[in-house]
Symmetry: C2
């Protein structure tokens, strides 16, 4: 009943094992069996988030965990720095505004990556800043930031570094502890291969120290309640049980392959996608392209909104358009989670057809051929 090929940066396609788990009879959450499963999933999340810190699980979209970071770390009137380079970075800004945090923004043009020196300057100018909010992969622009460099700079200040890795986790590398990232937030519907509904957060000791000081009112996402419940492998409020059960299956898949291999695979698909785009004369919007999503400029003369519509109507391939000011100007191909090489090739084929039908003439098969060449080479390298 649904043959769509989703190349959207969330929700991403679900593996059969995850779908099977979602459809199981529901289990009760206040049982030793469920607690054991929940504990195992949080341990798995520590592995994929590359941290020894406990992972907190919220029943919410990713934005719920972003909000949890703001309200649990800061108090009204506190200063913070927000790296502002896309729609999701703007959400950090909106959250700070909603909660009375004085945010200094580090402006970054859409499609550019932040220069870590800009963060250093902002921290030097605002020594009282308690947090730096930024993004691993800015989903709206397909840009991956240089988090290790930003983390090294932030570590020299008294601020904690908070990274939105919602679309980045398990696509772009996120060495939370090794790089010294204090807080990482993520969501279930991207690299984790789950439906939306769960959000996760890890906090360093430096970040936990802020939680007790923060005066922003909070309840549903009050980390103090979650920490207390965690001692019993529990949550303070009923979790989205069926998605937690499915997470257990998704983590088996990811951990069996291994986090480095999952990321390497996304990198290969991203490289193949970029090669396909460039083979038909398209240019990348992202100056520092992520492994999870490729943002491409709509060629001049083509209506960007028509382009994604035609791809879906003709080929059942769903890609994302641009958001906000980028609407109609870019389109975005995701290649994270359970998206396969075949899906990527089908996407490029659909793109070729749609472009031809909209008057931008490309040699049929050119994008697919270039992408396949990358995939062949990558496979050869991996098996060598």
């Amino acid at each position: 009943m649904n043959n769509d090929i989703l190349l959207t940066p969330g929700p991403t396609p679900l593996p059969p094992q995850v779908r099977e788990a979602l459809g199981r009879p529901i289990i009760h959450h206040r049982t030793s069996q469920y607690r054991a499963l929940f504990k195992r999933t949080l341990q798995g999340m520590q592995t994929v988030m590359q941290t020894k810190s406990s992972v907190i699980c919220f029943t919410s979209s990713g934005t719920g965990a972003m909000e949890a970071a703001v309200v649990n770390l800061l108090s009204p009137g506190d200063e913070a720095i927000v790296v502002l380079g896309g729609k999701f970075a703007e959400r950090w800004g909106a959250l700070c505004k909603a909660y009375g945090i004085t945010a200094t923004t580090v402006p970054v043009a859409y499609g550019d990556a932040v220069d870590p020196k800009q963060v250093a300057s902002a921290l030097a100018a605002h020594p009282k800043a308690k947090a730096v909010f930024t993004t691993l992969c800015e989903t709206s622009t397909g840009v991956v930031y240089d988090i290790p460099a930003i983390a090294a700079i932030t570590r020299k200040s008294s601020a904690v570094l908070v990274v939105d890795a919602i679309s980045g986790l398990l696509a772009d590398d996120c060495r939370t502890d090794e790089w010294g990232v204090d807080v990482v937030v993520t969501g279930s519907q991207k690299g984790l291969m789950l439906p939306p509904g769960l959000a996760f957060m890890s906090l360093s000791e430096r970040a936990w120290a802020l939680v007790d000081q923060a005066k922003t009112p909070r309840f549903y996402n009050d980390l103090r309640l979650y920490k207390k419940a965690l001692a019993d492998d529990d949550t303070p409020f009923t979790s989205a049980v069926s998605i937690v059960v499915a997470l257990d299956e998704a983590l088996k898949l990811a951990l069996q392959a291994g986090v480095p291999q999952v990321i390497r695979r996304c990198a290969q698909l991203a490289e193949a996608t970029r090669a396909g785009m460039q083979a038909i004369g398209l240019t990348l919007f992202s100056k520092r392209p992520s492994n999870g999503v490729t943002a491409v400029n709509v060629p001049s003369g083509v209506d960007g909104k028509q382009l994604t519509k035609v791809m879906y109507d003709r080929s059942h391939v769903m890609v994302a358009g641009g958001q906000g000011d980028m609407a109609g100007k870019i389109f975005r191909f995701a290649h994270m989670g359970y998206i396969s090489a075949e899906d990527v090739l089908a996407g490029l084929r659909a793109l070729e057809e749609a472009l031809n039908s909209l008057g931008y003439k490309v040699t049929p098969g050119a994008a697919v051929k270039a992408a396949e060449a990358v995939l062949h080479r990558s496979t050869a390298t991996v098996s060598a």
Copy 2:
């Protein structure tokens, strides 16, 4: 792999149609198909919530919607009245405290129903109260409150009435508009026959008028963002798509039967459960028993925690124990949602066996027989 019979007041068992929907390939939420489905589910929710007001859908547990009510209606320093008769009522109190609301409590002993006159007195003593927070069915005590009487009283004041119908909806009648209830909140994992992960809220015009005035900071559950998105049949943040798709199936089942019939069926199961308990000499904890969950006193000499454990270990029937101060003193049988007459009878059979094994002697089959008599009579009445 899971033959448990869940008689817990959430999560409740899932119908096969719901399980099938949960396991479908994921669909993207920013499409006209999804918007149409989402719109249809919210219209269905209006029917089950018995209101013409728009229904808001959050991706969260029920507590997320309770929090949404507090932060969207009130400002720090505002006065409110909380009817305090159980663990979930206490959550209203905790929410008010977290957000700086001065709450006057109307104390109600666990197991008792509030006397609506107490609410009238509280409103008279606190004419500046902006909201009355109460519960349709207090899940922790199995008590259903006289909401129509409380609503009639509250309507005479300037306060809005906010009702937690998380475990009450589709079990106990909730005539939102007819009774003049301003705000109703509910969750997905009870009468709605879904996994946890979605929460819902309806607001009267009086309540919406407060939303624009409320100064409590908020973002993830800011109703102004939800209202704006609703104009496009959308949500401001990614919904738990798979549960929304399953909601569409669950609503088909509920609406096909009809809301009055669903409630009547719960009432029959509740009556049968009570008859079963009384036939073996047990007494009800609830002075005004709800249709959704029956709270029963653990007979003296029996260890209440052992009782529920033995029921599960011997018979795979899971019932809920008491919460907080009620732990070990009561146990709770749910009979809402997809819980069937057969499940209720299996629960009573398991209870008889567990009681006998723990030294409280009952005639085997006595509870089941009494319950069956009620079910037979009810069936006869319905088909007559």
